[in-house]
């Protein structure tokens, strides 16, 4: 996925600092930590890359987006029995702009491809995709159907695949833990 050390990251940092500076013009009171410049934070903690990775790793927000049967297990994942919040997978978000990971749960029809692509493009940059269940992974039982694509990986780059029809909610938990490992640099692409 994206490399955070590159030019893009530097540009974003410059832009952010410019914004903060402009908003602080003419102020004499020292701003609190929320409005501090990114460079000031990095002065106190020199391991920026690791810090950002660590915080990303521990706040993976999935998108509230269900296609078919597997969405039922996705809902179960969000409920009380599988206590997902303890590992940082917070509440499902209704808008793609606040999300880090898209869980594709269910079969992908030809008419849904543009919509899914659009949702993926609306998500903010370090974004991940989990293919949840047989249908999203390879077409599953609908392999011979005329309206189903054989796997979401024909459309989007997938990070973790989960097998099963449908996989248990615990499998999604395991998949998200694997994704955390990947974000943290434990697993190479």
């Amino acid at each position: 996925m994206a490399d955070y050390d590159g030019e893009e990251f530097e540009n974003a940092r410059k832009e952010m600092e410019g914004l903060v500076e402009r908003s602080l013009q003419g102020r004499e009171v020292k701003p609190n930590v929320l409005f501090a410049k990114l460079s000031e934070i990095t002065k106190s903690a020199p391991v920026t890359k690791d810090l950002i990775r660590w915080s990303r790793q521990n706040s993976v927000w999935p998108m509230q987006f269900g296609l078919a049967c597997c969405a039922m297990e996705l809902m179960d994942f969000g409920s009380a029995r599988v206590d997902a919040e303890r590992k940082g997978y917070l509440l499902f978000r209704g808008t793609p702009r606040q999300c880090d990971v898209m869980v594709v749960a269910g079969w992908v029809t030809k008419s849904m491809i543009p919509e899914i692509k659009r949702l993926y493009e609306q998500m903010s940059s370090p974004k991940y995709v989990i293919s949840y269940g047989e249908c999203a992974t390879c077409g599953g039982p609908w392999f011979e159907s005329y309206n189903i694509i054989k796997g979401i990986d024909q459309v989007l780059p997938v990070d973790v695949y989960v097998g099963g029809c449908p996989p248990r909610p615990e499998s999604l938990f395991a998949a998200l833990m694997k994704l955390q490992k990947k974000i943290g640099g434990g697993i190479e692409d």
């Binding site: 509230q64 987006f65 269900g66 296609l67 078919a68 049967c69 969405a71 039922m72 297990e73 809902m75 179960d76 409920s79 009380a80 029995r81 499902f92 209704g94 269910g106 079969w107 029809t109 008419s111 849904m112 919509e115 949702l119 039982p141 609908w142 011979e144 159907s145 005329y146 309206n147 189903i148 029809c165 449908p166 248990r168």
Partner: protein, 365 residues
Amino acid sequence: MAITRINIGPVHPSTHGVLRLVVDLDGDTIERVEPHVGFLHRGVEKLVETRMYMQSPPYMEKLDYIAPLSYDEAYVSAVEKALGVEVKERAQYARVILLELQRIASHLLAVGTMCNDLGQMFTVFMWAFKDRDMVLKLLEEAAGNRMFYVNMRLGGLLRELPPDFEMQTLDVIDYMERRIPEYERYIEGNPVFMERMKGVGVLSQKDARNLGVTGPVLRASGIEYDVRKNNPYYVYDKLHFSVKSLEKGDNFSRYRIRMMEMRESIRLIRDAFDKMPAAGDMLGMPVKLRSPAPVNKEVRVSRELPRGEALMHMVADQQKPYRLSIRSPSFINLAALPDIAKGYRLADLFSILGSLDLVMGCVDR
């Protein structure tokens, strides 16, 4: 005032799947709703024509993924009718028990997600899913999988119910019986919920009849029609239960009717365990590649699913169906949405949609 046309979906947190709604608004009042379906279409009816009879139940279960067993049973009984297979008596009771458990699980999910749609009531969703998991665990013990069971075989079930199944089920339904009043106290004590449900989304008795809605939506509008009572199958005519109906036909009645039906299902399960014969077995025919030759060329089987009446119309061929046509309750109920929602506010659209309890997999097929 000018009409504003807005688009909702196909990916929206409150549409319970991928449903696209094009809404014409006059200010905040709904002038017209146009549901666009087909985002989950995968051609089940065509796929089934290429499969042997007993290869199809997994496809049928994926139609209505909130109550998979019910569709499985409807399809298998259509095949049984076509091939002239009798269902063993003990298996009939076991099927009734499993179907009613599935109905409880389905209605719990319906109530939970409906409250979730109305905002600020995530508690009911959590409760409903916790209790639904208990029911799913029972079904898992009986069938072997958590969500898709494929438990029905020609003339019976895949296997006997586990030895302690009766005890466990009675425990769970005793718990459920204590739990339902708790739900009601919590939900109906919430003024926001009551404000958004009572008197909103009224479907009159005449409209309900004309639009052909089924299941809880029909019964909430004052028509006492239930396939289990009006056209009984299996041992439903030997068991004690009553069909509930309410007069008003608003969102609140549709929610109430689901709570009442859960109570009736609990009664049914108890009664079925009491009357279940101890002798005999419930094993069906093992799945073979070649099935017996069909006796009836064309069969219709009507079943009361948690969402309403489903009709399986099958034209039988030697080894596989020549044609299978499915009348799905969700599709019919969705067709009533434009008539119900007209004249209400935009925010009421989702409470109406939640109370109709649609499954998009069943709508699109």
